[in-house]
Each structure stands twice: as structure tokens, then as C-alpha cells.
Subunit: 243 residues, 3 copies
């Protein structure tokens, strides 16, 4: 399985990547993880990948393209772990996921001379993912590299964490672990409130926001039949305290 | 074929469901019916499913997740008809579709103790659909139940019906059957107008709305090169008279 | 491979087309090129197809449905080239792509008497694509026709071209070929500015728009961490000079 994760939205860039993959590896099964990462938000993509990859079959190849530095000297890489393969820019996107691997090997990918300066998703990452899927080892696709060079850590200090994702329902996903309280105090910039920590959406109040343990095992802010993000004006990477 | 119908939009929740399915049933073909159901609109999902399922190959398994009551006591079910299999919450979503089946058997699904309280799409419905697809009978996945417990009927009384879907083009889809007239009077809340019933979009007036028999065989309101929903302010479930 | 290109967005119309295809040709692999063509913009679809088709495996069948004239006398066609097959309305959509083919044969498709007047994507184009994929020659699906009847040419006169696509990132794609300058003057309606022509997005200024050679090999207008379309108010087909 080749899994795609990008910030391309519903554009044809995704379809073109699939065409390239199927031209090289006609039997590949291609699955979209999501293409709705906020444009150029490496941080949000890193979170989504780290919370999702384990639900895919072993040996899946992930082609991850959130790549504001495309065409510059930022390195393209293919990384093998004992369980999965990841292809993408070395800009932090893969870092949290690989931090969880028992071991991994990094190889840098050289764009072909004909590669576009603006679309390595098509000309570098789709090609490498498809070639690997068709049986070419990572060591034959790139040059060994000691490690990833750009770290990305999500901020977590006591009960202060960060906003890591705003989802389709307007839920604000944080990296804060659950806690055994029924009431929480939230501080997010100038926004302060006391809110309930509920077990199900149905338990939540009819007006205003509440906290809930989301599907990734961390605390999310939600609003019943409304969008939490319309109540609390935060963006990816903003710090937030829940105590 | 496993067919997915949700209100998850373009989020990663869809991709994660596919990962779960392919881990359990690696050869499954997965097709997205749509994920653009209005958030938590069981009614709209029920309409879309009832108008779409018959276009899929026999024995397709539909995993339907529009589930505002996730994590509460609302029952998760798998339902077999002679032609198709449906997995989803027993909240009305499956009701109109199953009303058309010659017969059906309902089995309730018990979430695993480790299931999230917020994402049964991943932890219950994708799992059941994939297991069924891999050859496990519904009777081995759940407990027989006499019937669905939550009915859902679309309102239809003479020439008054309801809004069942607002599509991507802003067309307002109703459940009203066609009639042999060229001119109609429309009453939708405080909106009243006289409009034409056209055979093709091209026939429609250049300004304002018109009626047309849509692809589901019911009357839709449309506007040429514009969005009918910008003319008539209605939402899913609102009553509407066309005479 | 059957490739879908429509203006259906995230609606169920795409899913229903896939159901029809898999009912007729159960082994077909279906790939979405994109469904985010601006509603009814034959011009934008024609550009996207012409820039994308060559990335798909040889003998792919493209089902293209941007079809404002559905149900009228505009002809539905299936067209074979030595390398690909195209199905769609004869409204210009296929014209630029077929202009690049060494040769092609056009066959007109007759809608079945039961076909909807509003959804030939389901009742004509998906059916023809799937039947061809399942082994039925185009000459057995339609009636030979001398040529396409509706031409579509993108305007290009010296350094004046047109806007052919506005992508997911708000980039404004033109049909203007690259040129070896570092500074350009742009005239788009009443908008006039002097802008840089950059090699990578990173090179671009932090505020305001710049030009870049996009992945299709033509000049695009872009804005760093912003949307160029918010600076320059143009729409598909508008003329634009870059010199």
C-alpha cells in the first residue's frame, strides 16, 4: 500500500501523483490519508502522520508532501523502519513518527535534472515511493545519511501543550494527555474559561465548548453542533493550558 | 467492494478507516460514496444512501458513519439484505434504504473494550465491514436483533415534501416526485415564487431559480451558473410545497 | 486504469459513477484526477486534462464530465488515440489534449432511453468508460464521427495569455511560456504591477505576489504564505500580459 499525505486539498496534484505511481508500479494500491493539511503546515502534517501511521498495514509506504521549501536545498529523504517506509522532505514532517520507531535508516534522494522546482510530489516523492513499492531497496534509491537533520517536537510542559490540528468539524486537537477531572480551566492566549471534560459528545453542553479525549488519545476542544474553533481563536502551534 | 459514507469531509479520519480495513482485509476494494454529508446530518446521509446504493455491485458492504451519538447507548449494527450489507449506527441513517429491501437481518455490534468513545468509524464500523468482507458472517460479528429501533421517514403529504440534500452546485434536492406541469408555485417558509419546471439545465432562465427532475428522480431547485441555495434560504429537513 | 475528471467536488455523484463502473467492470482501477474544477468551467477542465494526462499509464481511459449542456443536443463522445482513450462531452473539454495526439478516432455515444437528463456522468460517460475498459471497442460503443465539432484554444499572442486555472493554494496559473527575465511587468485588467520571476517559492518576497514557472511549465502567479488570487482579482479565461 502507498499512502499519500499532502496539503494539496482537492487539486489535480494528487491525481497526477497517482498517475506517476501507477505508471511505475501498476499494481500499487494507493490510499489517501488526507490532503487537507493546512497549506504548508509541516507541524500539523507531522501530528497527523504520527497519530495515523500505525493503523496502516505493515510495510506500507507513506509519501508525505508538505513542502514549503521545495526546490531549495532542503533534503528529500526515504526512511526505512522495521515496519514502514516514509518518503518526504527532511523538514520535520517525519520526525515525531520516526522518534517512535525502534530503529530507522535515512537515505537522501537526489531530484532528477528534469525535476520541476515547484512539484517534487510528482517528480521526486511519488517516483521514489513507487520505485520502492516495485521492489527497489531504499539503499538503491538514495544515499545513506546519518539521521534526519530538522527536528520537530510538540511543546508539552506540565499542563501546557499546543494546538496540533483543527479538524473538519472545527474541533481543536491538542497534544495534552487526558486527566481525571470533570472540570478544567482553559487558558489560550487571552481566552480563559472553565469547561467540562466529557466522555462523549452527547454529554457536552448545548452552548459553548467542552473538552473530550479524542481519537488520538489527547484532549480536544469541541462544541455541540457548532465549531469550537469559532469560540476559541487559535491556530496550529499556539500554546494552550488545560488544568 | 467496501463503500464509505460519512460526514468526515476531507479529514484524515477517512484515511485511517481505510488503513484499518486494509490491515484486516488486504484485498478489499474501497470506494468513497461521499464524505460531504453536512456534519451530523443523519437525514441527509439517509437520503444519499437510499438514492445511491443500487448503483454499486451486488454484495457491496456499506460502512456508513454519521453518528452524533457515538459513545452513547445508541446501538451499532450490521444488516444483511439479500443483495447488500450495511454497517452503521442504528440512528435512522439505514432506515429508508432497508425499507426498500425484500428482507433483512439486523445484528448489533458490541464495541471492543479498547474502542474510542469518539471514533467508532475506526474502531467499530471499519472493523466490522472489513471482517465481513474477509468472510466472517454477520451472525458471527454481532447479536441478532429483531429490527432497527430508530425509524426515519421523509415527509411527503400531497405536494409538500422536504429538503433532503443541498449538493455541491447549490442545487436544493427535494423528495417530491415529478409532475407534468410547466409552471410551479413554490412555498418554502416565507419564500414564495412562480417558477418553471425545465427538462435540462440549459432550458432554465438566466436569472432566478427553476425546477428540474434531478438524477434521483425527484424535483430539485436549480439556478443557471448560480447556486439555488443563495436564492432560497432552506436547510435539510425544511418543508417545502411545489404545486 | 479509469481516470475521473469532473466538477462534482466532494459530492456523491463521483461515488455513484464509481459504483456504476465497478458494476460493469469489477476489476477496474479508478483514479480521481480531480473533481475541483470550477463548476461548469469547460476551459479550466480542458487545461487540467491537457497538462495531466501524460502522467498516467498508457491505455488509461479518461472519463471527463464538465458538462453544462447535459441533456441537450451537445454530443457525447468516446475518442481513441494510439495511447489513451477519452470519454466526455464534445464541448471543447477534450480539444486541447487531442490536438497533441498523433491521430485519433471520434465516436458519438447515444444516451440510453432511460438516461437521466441531468446526470450523463452516471448514465452515459461512466458506462462507456467501463464498457471500453471491460474490452468493448469504441467502434462498438458509438458511431464514427469525422472530428470533434467544438474547438477550444487558449489565447496566446506575444506576451498576452490567459488565466487557465486557480489552484488550491490560490496560485494563478497562466498559459504563458517561461522567459529569461528576473523582473516582469504584469497587466491584468486594471491591475498593474512590477514583480519578480523566481525559481523557487522560498525566493519569493514576503509580501505581495511573484511569478514562478509552475509544474505545468508555464508561468504562475504566487504569494508566499498567502493566496495570489487575493491580490489579483481574475477569473478563468481572463487575459493577462506578462512582459
Amino acid at each position: 500500500v502507498i499512502v499519500l499525505l499532502t496539503d494539496f486539498g482537492s487539486s489535480e496534484y494528487v491525481g497526477v501523483m497517482k498517475g506517476v505511481i501507477l505508471t511505475i508500479s501498476p499494481e500499487a494500491r494507493i490510499v489517501d490519508l488526507t490532503h487537507s493539511i493546512s497549506p504548508q503546515s509541516v507541524r500539523e502534517a507531522a501530528w497527523v502522520l504520527s497519530k495515523s501511521y500505525r493503523y496502516f498495514p505493515k510495510h506500507s509506504v507513506f509519501a508525505c508532501v508538505v513542502d514549503p521549501g521545495v526546490g531549495t536545498e532542503r533534503q528529500a529523504v526515504i526512511v526505512e523502519t522495521p515496519e514502514y517506509v516514509f518518503v518526504g522532505p527532511d523538514n520535520g514532517l517525519l520526525y515525531p513518527t520516526l522518534s517512535e520507531a525502534s530503529s530507522y535508516d535515512v537515505y537522501s534522494l537526489e531530484p532528477a535534472p528534469t525535476a520541476s522546482h515547484t512539484f517534487h510530489g510528482r517528480d521526486v516523492f511519488a517516483v521514489a515511493a513507487a520505485r520502492h513499492h516495485s521492489g527497489i531497496a531504499a539503499s538503491n534509491l538514495g544515499t545513506p545519511q546519518p539521521d534526519l537533520t530538522v527536528p520537530l517536537n510538540f511543546y508539552l510542559q506540565n499542563r501546557t501543550g499546543e494546538v496540533v490540528r483543527v479538524d473538519h468539524f472545527g474541533n481543536i486537537v491538542t497534544n495534552l494527555p487526558p486527566l481525571k477531572k470533570k472540570h478544567l480551566r482553559i487558558i489560550a492566549g487571552s481566552f480563559r474559561d472553565e469547561i467540562d471534560l466529557c466522555v462523549t459528545y452527547t454529554e457536552g453542553p448545548n452552548v459553548g465548548i467542552f473538552a473530550i479525549v479524542g481519537s488520538g488519545g489527547t484532549i480536544e476542544l469541541s462544541a455541540k453542533n457548532q465549531r469550537a474553533i469559532d469560540y476559541v481563536s487559535v491556530k496550529i502551534g499556539d500554546h494552550l493550558t488545560l488544568e
